[in-house]
Amino acid sequence: MRHVLIADVEDQPGVLNRIASLFRRRAYNIESLAVGHSHRPGISRMTIVVAEDHKEAIQVAKQLDKLIEVISVTDVTEQRHVSREMALAKIAAPEMKRTEILQLANVYRAQVVDVSPGSIILEVTGDEDKIDSFVEIIRPYGILELSRTGEVAMVRGRAMPAPTLMAEDGPAA
């Protein structure tokens, strides 16, 4: 199963290295990892999607939390949360196909961010499923390049991600 973890970490050189080293050493299956500044100065937020069962996901979270520079880790999989990723897709778009492509883009609320002779770049945002399906739909038109960001996630409502780790026998409340 897929688990979505949110980790707040010190914004310091080497943090990513420690986290990557941990994942490598313990052979955790990481689907995606997105990192950027958070609203708090000096703290970066990471969203990590792991393809592990519940027990392993708990281990990932606990091992992450042991890193000194990791301030908190939460598994938000079972919490109400939104998650988004973004993709940029460069599509071979011959004159005659453009309208068709733009119509599809419209369905996915994708933005056109570049138009060049023979190609266009579309930007699409959404959850993983939406991006996957978008990619499949436009594939026949010829994808020249594809860049995806990996997922970022946030818990709905006023609640912050619950600060405690998950209980042993069930997902976090």
């Binding site: 010190e10 080293s21 939390d65 000194i68 301030i71 908190s72």
Partner: protein
């Protein structure tokens, strides 16, 4: 006040009560050594003969003292030589601060002379590490280093300092207060009372409980608590390798060690228990045997200071993240006086029928018999530091530990070469106790260069080489699992007595049982280091044994060949 980076570091050592450090100089840390020159009245620097020895000695010092051990190495080869020792400290959660020199800042990243990505190399084998790019950061970093090393689940840390940062002068008045927002070990010390009550309930419902005591008892200093708990609840105590000497082995409730070379009755007891109360241990594969078949009947209460250990290898029924001392105390308060005498009797019966620690009568010098003699001759009062291999296991089995924290071994990493340098560290930590290093002829040759150290400082460690002229454990495995195809198991050894003498030390050899007794007695009396070449049987195997991949229920007691040879 103006202080250099090096002075800030040494002030920090002094402030943390460090008076002995183990190290080896080199270009990148010469400024630190120059500063040490002026601290000789406060800090005793022991020049080891290989950096690995510095890390092992710091490890031994830390385990035996309960304080942080400190080792020093230079950049490049110095730091890479430290790695094995630090990796061992990491596996065994030993608080060590490694101070390493680095090339000057302007050479960083240029593949400068003796530049190694030292924090990169050490990253996976330390609890945390720092590359300190400004001397201003040093007061904070040193404070954090000691704090992180010696709190929570302890472990080694590394402070990597470029040469010119040691020399950099900065304004320094006081150490900043600690504030590490991602690290709050004090939060995890007290047990959750609800969980304690739950645990007590589970204990009350058990008929065949076992206490599994691990390294955590030592770190928590929970000896009294363990004893009182076992007695009040009348529960048999079985230890891991690192749990050895956490519970008096002469106690009626003690059944020795579990695991690959655990007592057969201890392994059976764990296998058949209906409850394991696991205190400060981590269900290592050497303890559990085949995991799927480990203690299948048992519910598990697991207390550990590291949340990540709970549920890592085995599923727990009650997992408590806390320091052992308050937790066991709370458990004692929560439980009534219990009686498990039928269960205790059952294990005693197994022990009677299958006395794992009985030694066969023979004129041949059996290695385990030698260990037993060391036990007798030192009245069981020796502090034992073991290497890795057969002798390690015999030392764990056949010396009986009644005194607290008197057994030190490289358990998690299993690093040969550990025992001798570590015993130097142990002796510095416990100058008034007799320290015995029990080591194979193979392991001794990994770090024996520190004979120069014990000579130079007259470090009184008794080095008992259990000399079977083999990498004994390798021979054992090749006998049992590779149809006796002996490959690189035989050792062509130097004359250890002459070797000792070459270092200016006393060396003695024994080849018969009566010699062994004589040599041990003499060594015990000599005030100072002694090298004993104790020549033992070459083919004796360590038993009981759980073959790798087997379950504890499948523990083998011995083999027919071994029995027949002495029949």
């Amino acid at each position: 006040m103006k202080r250099t980076g090096a002075e800030i570091i040494l002030d920090s050592l002094v402030a943390h009560g460090v008076h002995t450090v183990f190290g080896y100089p080199g270009g990148a840390c010469l400024p630190l050594y120059d500063a040490l020159y002026h601290y000789q009245d406060r800090i005793n620097h022991i020049l080891v003969r290989h950096e690995q020895g510095a890390a092992f000695a710091a490890d031994g010092y830390a385990r035996a003292s309960g304080d942080v051990g400190v080792c020093i190495a230079t950049s490049g080869p110095g730091v890479t030589n430290l790695v094995t020792g630090i990796a061992g400290a990491h596996m065994d959660s030993v608080p060590v601060v490694a101070l390493t020199g680095q090339v000057p800042r302007n050479l960083l990243g240029t593949d400068g002379f003796q530049e190694t990505d030292a924090t990169g190399v050490m990253l996976p084998v330390t609890k945390h590490n720092w590359l300190v790019m400004n001397a201003e950061e040093l007061p904070r970093v040193m404070e954090e280093a000691f704090h992180i090393a010696n709190t929570g689940r302890k472990g080694p840390v590394q402070v990597d300092v470029p040469k010119d940062v040691y020399l950099e002068e900065v304004e320094f008045d006081s150490v900043p207060p600690l504030s590490i927002r991602g690290y709050n070990p004090e939060e995890g010390l007290q047990p959750d009372p609800t969980l304690v009550r739950e645990a007590a309930e589970v204990i009350h419902g058990s008929e065949k409980p076992i206490i599994l005591a691990g390294h955590g008892i030592h770190y928590s200093g929970a000896y009294e608590e363990l004893l009182a708990f076992a007695e009040k609840a009348n529960i048999p105590v079985i230890t891991t390798l690192h749990g050895v000497s956490s519970f008096p082995e002469s106690h009626d409730l003690s059944f020795g060690m579990v695991g690959m070379h655990g007592n057969i009755y201890a392994n059976w007891a764990v296998d058949r228990a209906d409850l394991l109360i696991s205190l400060g241990m981590r269900f290592d594969d050497r303890v559990t045997g085949r995991l799927e078949d480990f203690a299948t009947e048992a519910r598990i209460i697991h207390v550990d200071i590291d949340p990540a250990e709970i549920g890592k290898n085995v599923n727990t029924d009650v997992g408590i993240v806390a320091d052992l001392k308050p937790t066991i105390r709370a458990l004692i308060d929560e439980i009534g006086q219990l009686d498990h005498s039928p269960w205790v009797k059952q294990i005693c019966q197994w022990r009677e029928d299958h006395p794992s620690l009985a030694i066969r009568e023979t004129e041949i010098v059996l290695p385990q018999w030698v260990i037993r003699q060391i036990y007798h001759i030192t009245n069981g009062e020796a502090v034992v530091v073991t290497d890795v291999g057969q002798a390690q296991m015999w030392a764990a089995q056949h010396f009986w530990y009644d005194r607290r924290n008197t057994f030190f071994s490289s358990g998690g990493l299993g690093a040969m070469g550990y025992a001798f340098p570590a015993s130097i560290g142990v002796k510095y930590a416990r100058p008034n106790e007799q320290v015995w290093c029990i080591i194979g002829d193979g392991g001794f040759q990994m770090t024996l260069q520190d004979l120069a150290v014990v000579k130079e400082h007259n470090v009184d460690v008794k080095i008992a080489i259990i000399n079977n002229n083999h990498l004994g454990m390798i021979r054992q495995w090749q006998t049992l699992f590779y149809d006796s195809r002996f490959m690189s198991a035989k050792l062509e050894n130097p004359d250890f007595v002459k070797l000792a003498e070459a270092y200016g030390l006393t060396g003695m050899r024994a080849t018969t049982k009566s010699d062994v007794v004589k040599v041990l007695k003499e060594a015990e009396k000599i005030p100072g280091p002694v090298v004993m070449d104790l020549v033992v049987d070459e083919v004796e195997k360590v038993y009981p044994m759980v073959p790798a991949g087997s379950s504890l229920a499948e523990t083998i007691e011995g083999d027919e060949v071994q029995e027949a040879r002495y029949a």
